[in-house]
Amino acid sequence: MMTTVSFYLLSALAVVSALFLVTTRNLLHAVLALAVASLAVAGVMLTLNAEFLALVLILVYVGAVVVLGVFAVMLTGHFKKPTLPSSNELKIIAVVVSLALVTLLGGVILGQPAVTGLKEVSLDTVGKLLLTDYVLPFELVSIVLLAALVGSIVIARGKED
């Protein structure tokens, strides 16, 4: 009962803060809204017994992504008056891309069989699966991260000579 109530409250919070995130003109407020949304989603995962996922979400999104987001806003020089102009030149493309994403994700999610009574998955299982069945995607993600790291260093160093 309590879990159900928490689930809906946290989901509502996630949706509201996500809406605030995309509608606010203040970039820093947007980044903080992302933090609230991530925490709310982590809470939703807790109500679904996905402890590990919830903690990793907090660690990665709130601990790293949001902080880096704040840094990015500061580096763009918008920190004195961090407001965006009120027009978007890529309106049509934005609508097409987001609709496509919603269709794709919605299709995948709705295609899944409904699951009831989720059981807690132990960390042992997660670890073993990551290094056996899912070792290829796991390694692929590492390479993508490494590429991003190298790329950011190259961009940050600029043209020295």
Partner: protein
């Protein structure tokens, strides 16, 4: 009934009484649990505040004696009541919001800094069976819930509308992200030895304190903890001589008190984590567990204070060099060696 030496029973007894109370006034058991958790939180908050008061008094006295001074002496015996007087003073002061500040973010920031430390504290075992909230992945939990504190500091720094605050907030965030890497990496060796993320299980697994097997990891953890709490020699975020007081320059009254509280709670959490992971937690001969737990934790806290009053402040670039070029590679090395030894011994 001597509960002094059996805190586990005392803890269980308190919860039981609360449940009975809840059923007596015809609350459903569920509500009883919620009321129970709420009261436990209030109790913990009180314990937290008392610990912080002891730490503030201790810090002032230790600092004073290291500098051949006496420290607070006037209020109460040897200045014992000084902290209480300070708290009353802070609570009576006006809670001021500067005109240039971003109102809501400015108001929220001190709590965003404080709550993560408090949330981490509830998952650390103080004695066998005495954990306010037993989390299966306790270690991951304290690492994860501790992270939003950085956002609070950034919020404070940015929303104050003051260049010193902004610079302090940015420095602090950069430092905390950098040192989180060696902090987390140094802990992995302990996880490999214990084979669990459950803090109570990690303590039980320590036949000998893990500092014997993981001395390097312990040193890395300790240095990274000092950096995470923005204390000397890693206190450029609030370097007085250049930044006034860094991210909390514009704060006064109760909100300033919360920043203060947060700093000491975070220190306590990291020391308690060091004790749990490397020094055998509540384990020790003769004395009851919680006495050992507090003795060890205050021992580490004394180290923190000792560092603060004896080391000079690092420069920004030295700080980053130490974090990324020394501690992080050493932590990886420790991880590889631990893994190799474990595989070879199997």
């Amino acid at each position: 009934m001597n509960y002094i030496f059996d805190p586990a029973a005392a803890f269980a007894w308190c919860l039981e009484q609360l449940r009975t109370l809840a059923t007596l006034v015809h609350l459903p058991v569920m509500a009883g649990e919620w009321v129970g958790s709420f009261l436990v939180m209030i109790g913990l908050f009180t314990v937290c505040s008392v610990i912080v008061m002891i730490l503030v008094y201790g810090e002032r006295k230790i600092a004073a004696h290291m500098q051949s001074r006496l420290g607070p002496m006037r209020v109460g015996w040897h200045g014992l009541l000084q902290v209480i007087a300070d708290v009353i003073k802070l609570m009576l002061k006006e809670s001021f919001v500067p005109a240039a500040a971003d109102n809501w973010i400015f108001r929220a920031a001190p709590y965003v800094v404080f709550i993560p430390g408090f949330m981490a504290l509830i998952a650390i075992p103080m004695d066998r069976g005495v954990i306010p909230a037993h989390v299966n992945m306790g270690l991951l939990y304290i690492l994860a819930v501790g992270t939003p504190g950085v956002i609070g500091i950034l919020m404070a720094g940015w929303s104050s509308g003051n260049k010193y605050s902004l610079l302090g907030g940015m420095r602090s965030a950069a430092q905390m992200i950098s040192y989180e890497v060696p902090l987390v990496m140094s802990v992995l060796g302990v996880i490999m030895l214990a084979g669990s993320l459950d803090l109570a299980a990690i303590v039980e697994a320590q036949k000998v304190p893990y500092i014997i097997y993981q001395p390097l990891a312990f040193i890395i953890f300790l240095i990274a903890s000092v950096a995470e709490t923005n204390r000397n020699p890693f206190d450029i975020p609030e370097a007085e001589s250049e930044l006034t007081a860094g991210f909390h320059t514009e704060y006064g009254g109760v909100r300033f008190a919360y920043f203060f509280l947060a700093e000491y709670v975070n220190m306590f959490v990291l020391s308690a984590a060091a004790v749990t992971l490397f020094l055998g937690g509540w384990k020790g001969p003769f004395l009851p567990g919680w006495v050992w737990y507090f003795a060890k934790t205050f021992g580490i806290l004394f180290l923190f204070m000792w560092f603060r009053w004896t080391f000079p402040r690092l420069r920004s670039d030295q700080l980053m060099d130490l974090g990324w070029k020394v501690l992080t590679p050493l932590a990886f090395l420790n991880l590889i060696v631990t893994g190799l030894v474990l595989v070879l011994l199997k």
